[in-house]
């Protein structure tokens, strides 16, 4: 069920009517079956599951009894396509068209939960049918993701039925412009894009700026590799962003908003565009919204593939159609931003928080979290972790709880080695930091940052020097070239790291890396350059022994850096079958007859083919 035409909503009572009518229309359904339609599940072919579900329900005449919802991300992307059956919150994973037919026939009609299709908890060796009992969901608190995965993303009525757009009404009718930013200051909400600037104070600055022409911009240029929180919100609950921008526009006095979304997110763009279209039809955007006298227009601007555009001043240039190079600050965007006018820029997740905070009050929101970090944070959990996906947790939870309780620990029986927080601007933390509280201050103190929310877990087969090289390669490639420290400094750092992983590094390189890193941090123009050295600095600090192994002993302890690997055949174990020699693509292996086979390291390309073919485990890496 997606949006029927609800007509133009002229007043607040129209909004209340839509809410009432929607709740009435769904109360007679015996079941609601939600099929996750996040990008992760789409890649796992949830569309086929949805089609099969609709067909089977029609075939069995269940149209009046079962409500089928295509929602945004349910979170457990690794096990997609996922399906939730209510009442009972039965959570089916890895669904297929065949399995969903069984669920309809045996669960919906027969009343028996199909346990073998539900979530399987490996540590306990048992199926856990109910969503709330699954460890992945147990410690989560869903504020930003309140609707994500539980409503039809395309239905404005369902969003309204969850008090959607009532936050805007409350801001205008009860709080007023000053009251609204004061409520946000009270809530302690800070920017979720990474920097953590208090949102209420930012909005107050926007309000205080003189001028009739102001703008509010949503930064949806989520470019950190390993981060997909904002995409999930844009895809799963687009109206919450529209409402957040409406409230922001009203507070600061802007009648025009922009949402900047990266071109890599076609589904997010499509759903947000559709939601904006519906909002205009219903009179939730445009002139005199809900009879409040407030006018607001909203446009999407699509990026064109440049990481630096996530930096707020570069993003402004990009919206204006220019090269996405950062601008010198001051003046700050709240003073002179888009087209030289006062502009407030907020991240997707920040804006999704706003309507709930307005509805439930700043004190309620501040009751979650620790110290100066209040509320919750959404993280994208990925890498060598058992359950990857989207999670939302209260600030102050420990890294260890995120990795082991929610994420289910490391895959394939390997050991935890590091967790990378904050993408190319962040840092790698070790197992000694698993007890650290996840909040802005604690993470900064460790040299990592909260960042936008990407968490990449790495197991003991990861080389930290190679990881640092990877991030430096990324930043080097994405540096816009505007300032020297970032353009040339990162290039020199990358060259040193490339030398080290190739086995040609020297001890003095480590000091040079540190000096360069600190110089870039102090002198680069924008956030990209200033934070670019963080992955190198944190790995140098916490994994120095690995760097030393590379530069002094010319070995890679994790066996990743190819050029330092030496393949050897144990003559004791070698049975002289010759399989390795026959399969070696570079003909580096010789021997045979009575002689054990040997590998010529000069010729060996270190591809590992011989190890794969040896049946006696005679070949190893030194």
């Amino acid at each position: 069920m997606t949006t029927r035409y609800v007509g133009r909503l002229e007043t607040v009572s129209d909004l209340e009517r839509v809410k009432r009518e929607f709740l009435d229309s769904v109360k007679d359904f015996r079941f609601t079956i939600t099929v996750c339609g996040g990008t992760g599940c789409i890649s796992s072919h949830c569309g086929d599951v949805l089609t099969a579900l609709r067909k089977q329900c029609t075939l069995r005449g269940l149209g009046e009894e079962v409500r089928i919802v295509e929602s945004g991300c349910l979170g457990l992307c690794a096990l997609g396509p996922t399906v939730l059956v209510e009442p009972g919150d039965t959570f089916y994973v890895n669904m297929t068209p065949e399995k969903i037919v069984q669920v309809v026939d045996k669960h919906i009609i027969g009343g028996k939960i199909q346990e073998e299709y539900t979530f399987f908890d490996e540590p306990s060796g048992e199926h856990v049918p109910c969503l709330a009992d699954i460890p992945f969901y147990h410690d989560q608190v869903k504020i930003v993701l309140r609707n994500c995965g539980s409503i039809d993303y395309a239905s404005v009525e369902e969003y309204i039925s969850r008090d959607g757009y009532f936050g805007f009404v409350k801001a205008v009718r009860e709080l007023g412009r000053v009251g609204t930013y004061e409520e946000l200051i009270k809530s302690g909400l800070r920017g979720r894009g990474g920097a953590g600037f208090p949102t209420g104070i930012k909005w107050r600055s926007g309000y205080d700026q003189p001028g009739d022409e102001k703008y509010i911009v949503c930064n949806g240029d989520e470019g950190d590799p390993g981060a997909f929180m904002d995409r999930s919100v844009l895809e799963g609950d687009p109206h919450s962003i529209i409402e957040g921008l409406l409230i922001g526009g009203y507070t600061i006095g802007a009648n025009q908003g922009f949402v900047y979304v990266r071109a890599e997110y076609p589904i997010a763009v499509e759903r947000l565009q559709a939601a904006i279209g519906v909002a205009y039809e219903c009179g939730l955007l445009g002139k005199n919204i809900l009879g409040t006298g407030f006018d607001f227009d909203l446009e999407i601007r699509i990026g064109a593939g440049a990481f630096v555009c996530g930096e707020e001043t570069a993003l402004l240039n990009s919206i204006e159609g220019k090269r996405g190079e950062p601008r010198q600050k001051p003046p700050f965007p709240f003073q002179s931003g888009l087209y030289g006018c006062p502009t407030i820029i907020n991240n997707v997740e920040t804006l999704a928080n706003v309507p709930v905070i307005i509805m439930r009050g700043g004190d309620w929101y501040a009751s979650y979290g620790v110290g100066k970090s209040r509320g919750t944070k959404v993280f994208a959990l990925a890498g060598d972790i058992r359950y990857s996906g989207i999670i939302e947790v209260p600030m102050g939870i420990t890294m260890g709880d995120i990795v082991f309780k929610i994420g289910g620990g490391i895959k394939d029986g390997k050991q935890f080695k590091a967790i990378q927080s904050g993408g190319p601007s962040g840092g790698c933390l070790t197992k000694d930091h698993l007890g650290v509280s996840v909040d802005y201050e604690s993470l900064s103190a460790m040299g990592a940052i909260m960042g936008s929310g990407g968490l990449i877990v790495m197991d003991d087969t990861t080389c930290m020097v190679d990881t640092a090289r990877y991030f430096m390669d990324f930043v080097q490639d994405e540096s816009c070239g505007h300032c020297v420290p970032c353009r040339i400094g990162t290039k020199r750092m990358l060259e040193i790291l490339q030398r080290i992983v190739a086995g040609k590094g020297e001890e003095a390189d480590l000091d040079m890396l540190e000096t360069l890193a600190n110089t870039i941090k102090d002198t680069a123009m924008c956030g990209l350059g200033q934070t670019a050295p963080n992955p190198v600095l944190t790995t140098l600090k916490y994994f120095r022994d690995e760097y030393e192994a590379h530069v002094i002993h010319k070995t890679c302890p994790a066996h990743v850096c190819k050029e330092m690997l030496v393949y050897v055949i144990d003559p004791e174990k070698c049975r002289r079958c010759g399989l390795c020699a026959r399969n070696c693509p570079t003909e580096a292996i010789s021997g045979g007859g009575k002689e054990p086979y040997v590998i010529n390291t000069e010729v060996c390309s270190r591809c590992g083919t011989c190890i794969a073919h040896c049946k006696f485990g005679a070949i190893s890496i030194k």
């Binding site: 890649s43 590799p225 997909f228 071109a263 601007r301 064109a304 440049a306 159609g321 994208a380 990877y470």
Partner: protein
């Protein structure tokens, strides 16, 4: 894709670019939006096309060219009929994305950043396509393939040739 020599056809196509750019500019589109539209229509943004956009937008060619070369989505060379983007975001990198890149380079006889000799695929690596839970992932056009192995790749590539064969 236009092949050199077909002047009349080129003239018509350039005329279409001009009209499109004019329409977009009249709607108040920014330079980036105009370039998105033109690239969607023409396929890529060679210097002749950039010159037309510059004229329409009353901007120096240098400005247009500066924007085109700044953003990775804009291409000054012809693209393949399909775009393969092999993800090397952190999650995919950690989960073995490089192996897929190496394998595809051999399979397609084509280096990263180039188009296959038959014009079928443009092969690129992506910084992160946001499918981190499904690492390692590749995207062909807008379709994302999850948890890809080197064993699956020949079949995936072949399916595009088969689909093209059945269309003709």
């Amino acid at each position: 894709m236009s092949v050199g020599g077909d002047v009349i056809q080129d003239d018509q196509r350039f005329e279409r670019v001009r009209k499109l750019a004019q329409t977009k500019a009249a709607e108040g589109a920014s330079l980036i939006q105009v370039l998105h539209a033109v690239q969607n229509s023409y396929g890529y943004l060679p210097i002749e096309v950039q010159r037309i956009v510059a004229e329409v937008m009353h901007a120096p060619l240098g400005t247009v060219s500066g924007v085109v070369t700044f953003y990775s989505f804009f291409s000054t060379e012809p693209n393949g009929r399909h775009g393969i983007r092999c993800c090397l975001g952190t999650a995919c990198y950690v989960r073995g994305g490089v192996r897929l890149v190496d394998f595809l380079e051999e399979l397609l006889h084509c280096k990263v950043g180039h188009t296959t000799a038959d014009g079928m695929f443009k092969f690129e690596v992506a910084r992160c396509i946001g499918a981190c839970s499904l690492a390692p992932a590749i995207a062909i056009d807008d379709k994302v393939y999850a948890k890809v192995t080197t064993e699956e790749l020949p079949g995936i590539i072949a399916s595009y040739y088969e689909a093209e064969g059945s269309e003709q």
